[in-house]
């Protein structure tokens, strides 16, 4: 944990993240209500969700401050997930 920081500082950064998450949520809802077309909608939805996920994982879940090797616990399953989806959709069932 970012032990150098004071309670107030960290609390403030958490609130900032929360605010960013709310803004992003509002953004996805707003953006996807205007229908851009199937693919664009998916891309936007997934991108924003990923951004939110990164925020939560980095700050709330302390990945940013913790041992870097913890990130493998996220990267490894994501890799196999992507392979799985790739095989089933791009290559065909």
């Amino acid at each position: 944990m970012a032990s150098g920081m004071s309670f107030q500082e960290i609390q403030k950064s958490y609130f900032k993240v929360f605010l960013a998450l709310m803004v992003l949520t509002a953004l996805t809802v707003a953006v996807t209500t205007i229908h851009f077309g199937d693919v664009a909608n998916i891309v936007v939805g997934v991108l924003i969700a990923t951004a939110k996920a990164v925020l939560v994982a980095y700050i709330f879940m302390h990945l940013k401050f913790d041992n870097k090797r913890l990130r493998y616990f996220v990267i490894t399953p994501m890799f196999f997930f992507i392979v799985f989806i790739f095989a089933l959709t791009v290559l065909g069932l």
Binding site: T76, F84, L93
Partner: protein, 607 residues
Amino acid sequence: MEAAVNTVRHEHGEGHTHSESFIRRYIFSTDHKMIAKQFMITAIIFLFIGGAFALFIRWQLAYPGEPIPVIGTMLPSTWVNADGAVTAEWYTQLLTMHGTIMIFAVIIPLLVGTFGNFAIPLMIGADDMAFPVLNMVSFWLFPLASIIMMAGFFVEGGMAAAGWTGYAPLSVIASLGQTLWIVALFLIGFSSILGAVNYITTVLNMRAPGMKMFDLPMTVWSVFITAIIIIIGTPVLAAALSMLFMDNFLQTSFFMPENLTVTGRDMSRTAGGGQPLLWQHLFWFYSHPAVYIMILPGMGVVSDVLATFSRKPLYGYMAMVFAIIAIAFLGILVWGHHMFQSGMNPLLGTTFMVSTMVIAVPSAIKTFNWLGTMWRGQMEFTTPMLNAVAFVSMFVIGGLSGIFMASTPVDVFIHDTYFIVGHIHYVLFGGSLFAVFAGLYYWFPKMSGRMYNERLGKWHFWMTFITFNGTFFPMHILGVGGMMRRIYDPTVYDFLKPFQPMNEFITINAMILGFVQFILVFNFAYSWFYGKKAKRNPWRANSLEWQAPSPPPHGNFDKEVRVYRGPYEFSSPESVQDYLPQNVSPEELAAQWTRHEQRRAQQKSEP
């Protein structure tokens, strides 16, 4: 601050008083060694149940429609017909439960549950697992799940009957037994995941001072990597089972296309729109890695046993470790090779064929390194060694038959024939189960504090080895002849009639094979109480478990362990003896030499 994390540990820590109640000690124990034994005993019971099912299967295949001798008429009428012969319904239930039990209730609990639990903390010099309570929960989920699965015996419609692969829609339109099967597998999967969390944390965090990852014995490495496979694969099975459960129980349609016309079940609520192949993809995404879950720990155990009894360092330790990692990684990318004829896109067939061929390479590396380990060794053929030696040879047969199936055009013909059944048993029995035997004999002195009977052990080995080959080798020939698997009566087909003598031959061998397993049980049960007392390190091995008392007390080690070297320093010129335990410090080693010189000098001066 950190020491306070685990309150459970604290209760243990305070000087081993052993004042726990019977229940805490033998039933809801949190001691990894007791949990290992619980896994072992439960799994061996299931080995006999699953094996008995196999013998019923074999009886029917050799003598279709003939009454089961002796016990036939005593069985309930839902299983056998009036004469006491196996019915077709019961046959499909038997083969399903045989496969499921052997895989989920025998091999995985033995290799992962028993050896993982027993060996990891001892081999890394820890006093217990990282999460002892979790470990206990992980064990108890397994008998609970097994009871749920076996409850299928007593419900309307009998046990699950869609094969251990549970292909939808057959498993969706099935009866209550199938639902129980789904629930049970879900629980077993959860138990596996909890175990894996424990193993990974323990290995990463609790190694003895001085022990680097590359000082780990192969058993620990392989169970560690296996745990990673479990973490990646098992949850996908859990998700798939959840969807299957929804389909089966609530008539959703994840795997159900529109308007299925099934007699005997009202499908009107099923809306359709599902995809049966989706189940197969999800299932094999777990179950192919699962076959490596079932072989990697075996490979680890065999590597340790081979090195110990060859009195040689394991050949190519680094190559062996990276081969395991490669198998695990590639193993998750080849699931489609079970689906070449499933109607999957042929392009995926090509893709999966290539990845499957590539996965044979790390297996080849392992095989050759085992040979290298034996080269210029000083081999001692104790029972564990015999089983390990058999493992290598049998695994090569099983692996090579895998190559046939990996080749898509050849697989067109041999898919779902007895060639596959032959492959299964060469890798699972010839591979995994021989490794289990090797490991059980190898660690028996440590587990029980007594030696098993070597003569009975050798008898068991040789009888098993011979009848195993007699049982399963001819299955390849049946497969080449085109005999389909999972058929109740092969004589329905003209082209299979000539194989009936071979089926009888297999069955006779299988019966003997089954009954010689009692030797193992007798040997263990007898020796556990009456065997010769075992020394601390009867095999003169290097890894840390042999530095603990036999059997190790609660808390494992009676002295501080610190690691100075890798686990395979056999026959090192540095050492006085032909082995050099990991925890012998340089000072102690020097002292050994001094004592040795003194003794030599004494001997010289005496005569």
